[in-house]
């Protein structure tokens, strides 16, 4: 029973981690609370659904398609709600991305209808027994995709030129620009990567819960925020670990304490972290005035 719950917790945590990675990348580079991120996640789920349902794509193509569509959405977000907005007013980009959130959510409601849609069974359901644990092929698939994506991303951030440029920009825009980093391009790439990963997370969430709706973005966004904070603002590996951690905490509290208290725990963690350890469990990459 406990092993089973641990696996469920890791599954939930993996999707939290994928959402939070995008948040924390974007926060690191722009110091912006990117509100529309949850809606990008939702649109990724719908893109995957339509690719499987009407495009006849297999699940890998659907994942790739959702990733590309969401990355394009990230580009649109930069040109519409980040670049044209005044930089010297802290609330302006926050509000413009809130505007984008409202547009995306209601566009989805308008075009796709407000109800929950069933996600087609894209992977054959098989059960494997390993010692005391029973794990399904769907669970292996989701965990496998999520973890390999995180590894690739970690490698990208730590060991490539673009990754170094992203880290430099997160430290300081002016210094990075002086050192020859094209800051505008870095911001664009960061949004593309963050949004693309959120798109994959959306499809994985659709497979896991076998149903998606235009309103799934908001709660995903809030959970992503908590994870970002828990891992330390701007800290990508921190977000990965914190995501898995929050997933475990939620599943275990739901299993052993009660399902309505589950959200209470995550928000209590949010407040405790804010009060006693605002740099997160693993330290913020981008020290900010608090």
């Amino acid at each position: 029973m406990l092993y089973q719950q641990l696996i469920n917790g890791l599954m939930l945590g993996a999707s939290y981690a994928l959402i939070a990675i995008g948040y924390t990348l974007i926060f690191g580079v722009l110091k912006l609370l990117y509100f529309a991120h949850g809606e990008v996640f939702m649109i990724g789920a719908f893109a995957g659904l339509y690719l499987v349902l009407y495009g006849g794509a297999n699940i890998y193509v659907a994942l790739l398609g959702a990733m590309i569509i969401c990355a394009l959405l990230g580009v649109i977000a930069v040109y519409v709600s980040v670049r044209p907005v005044a930089k010297d007013r802290p609330l302006a980009p926050l509000i413009s991305t809130i505007g984008l959130t409202i547009i995306l959510q209601n566009l989805a409601v308008y075009l796709l209808g407000g109800q929950q849609v069933a996600f087609p069974e894209a992977i054959k359901q098989e059960l494997y027994h390993i010692g005391p644990i029973t794990i399904s092929s769907v669970q292996i698939f989701i965990l496998g995709i999520a973890i390999s994506l995180m590894v690739v991303l970690w490698f990208f951030i730590e060991h490539t030129k673009m990754g170094r440029a992203i880290r430099a920009t997160a430290e300081n825009h002016e210094t990075a620009a002086l050192l020859g980093v094209d800051v505008n391009r870095v911001v664009l790439v960061t949004f593309m990567i963050g949004s693309g990963i959120a798109g994959v997370a959306g499809v994985l969430d659709g497979i896991k819960n076998s149903g998606i709706s235009p309103f799934m973005g908001l709660s995903a966004a809030v959970k992503g925020l908590i994870v970002m904070l828990l891992g330390g603002l701007g800290n990508v590996p921190g977000a990965m670990i914190a995501g898995l951690l929050l997933g475990l905490i939620e599943i275990l509290s739901a299993a052993y304490i009660g399902t309505t208290e589950r959200d209470f725990f995550s928000f209590a963690i949010l407040i405790l972290i804010l009060l006693y350890r605002p740099t997160g469990l693993f330290g913020a990459r981008t020290p900010e005035e608090r």
């Binding site: 509000i95 409202i102 925020l225 959200d263 209470f264 928000f267 407040i271």
Partner: protein, 319 residues
């Protein structure tokens, strides 16, 4: 008071606009000291639940319950404000958001206030509009006085530079706490008014989107002047009604004027676009928000624009 003048629809519209305006002022007061809260819906919920418990379970008259609701929210506000003093910016945003979510989780799991079924059959207050008008009048008077008082200037200076304000001898802690607590109290009043007008609420009534909307009222109206929150709430509540009216006017145009190509296409497009449908209305709302932040990030009303309005009088006095 306005029974003969207003039909039910207009009356309800004015009430919601008024409640939004009060909520906008509840955001504006802490914002004046630089504290940005995304938890005003949580304080509204506390005012709403506290007052509804009093009127429904203890039979206390609405006027008293309203005041107690405001005070309860204010006390919780000060309790939240104490730890919130230490943090700023995005951290405060997240703290208030988390607080507001905890309030809704408590509302969801507490059976005494209805739990998942929601709080039902709250007594209807027929004089909500009158209450709303009186409270807004008091708030406007209060903020007009505050603007020119030493307390108001101290708040502005904290907003601009907290360290500098402290060096000047301003008691930053006391003033920030006062602003946060009073703001929460005002939000509690708005919540109590809402509960006794809508007569039903549940854990999703006072959600994050409401807190976001309250913030948007102030930023769109203009956060640098006390007329901003009222103006923002009026404009943003009026836009959907305006779109609706536009569609009705469009239908008044004689068919013969528009029934040829390409005018008919344009007409059909506009007519379809102005369809009073929630999703479309909200899309328009989102577009307006983005355009506002691009072209007028300080809000519709700023201190400068107000000063320009008064310019003629100024000139005559000094010339």
């Amino acid at each position: 008071m306005f029974d003969g003048l207003l039909d039910g629809y207009t009356r309800s519209l004015l009430i919601f606009a008024g409640i939004h305006m009060i909520a906008a002022y509840s955001f504006y007061l802490p914002y004046k000291t630089g504290q940005v809260s995304l938890g005003q819906a949580g304080f509204m919920a506390i005012g709403a639940y506290a007052s509804a418990i009093l009127t429904q379970k203890f039979g206390i008259p609405f006027a008293a319950a309203l005041i107690v609701g405001g005070i309860a929210a204010g006390i919780i506000g000060i309790a939240i404000g104490f730890p919130a003093l230490r943090i700023k910016g995005i951290y405060l945003l997240l703290l208030t958001l988390g607080f507001s979510e905890i309030v809704s989780v408590v509302a969801l799991s507490w059976e005494y206030v209805g739990g998942a079924q929601g709080f039902r059959q709250i007594s209807f207050n027929p004089f909500t509009l009158e209450y709303v008008i009186v409270i807004i009048a008091v708030l406007l008077f209060f903020f007009a006085r505050l603007e020119r008082s030493s307390l108001g200037r101290a708040m502005d200076s904290i907003h601009q530079d907290e360290t500098a304000a402290e060096v000047m001898g301003i008691d930053v802690v006391r003033i920030k706490l006062l602003a946060f607590g009073l703001g929460a109290g005002i939000a509690g009043l708005a919540g109590a008014l809402y509960a006794h007008h809508a007569t039903f609420m549940d854990s999703t009534t006072f959600n994050i989107m409401l807190s976001v909307e309250i913030l948007v009222f102030v930023v769109v109206g203009g956060g640098s002047t006390y007329w901003g929150p009222a103006f923002g709430a009026v404009v943003l509540n009026a836009i959907p009604e305006f779109l609706r009216a536009l569609r009705e006017w469009l239908e008044l145009i004689p068919v013969a004027w528009t029934n040829f190509y390409p005018v008919n296409r344009v007409y059909d497009f506009l007519h379809g676009f102005l369809d009073f449908e929630n999703a479309k209305r909200l899309i328009a709302y989102g577009v307006i928000l983005i355009l506002m932040m691009i072209f007028r990030p300080d809000g519709l009303l700023t201190r400068d624009s107000l000063r320009r309005l008064r310019l003629p009088r100024w000139k005559s006095r000094h010339a």
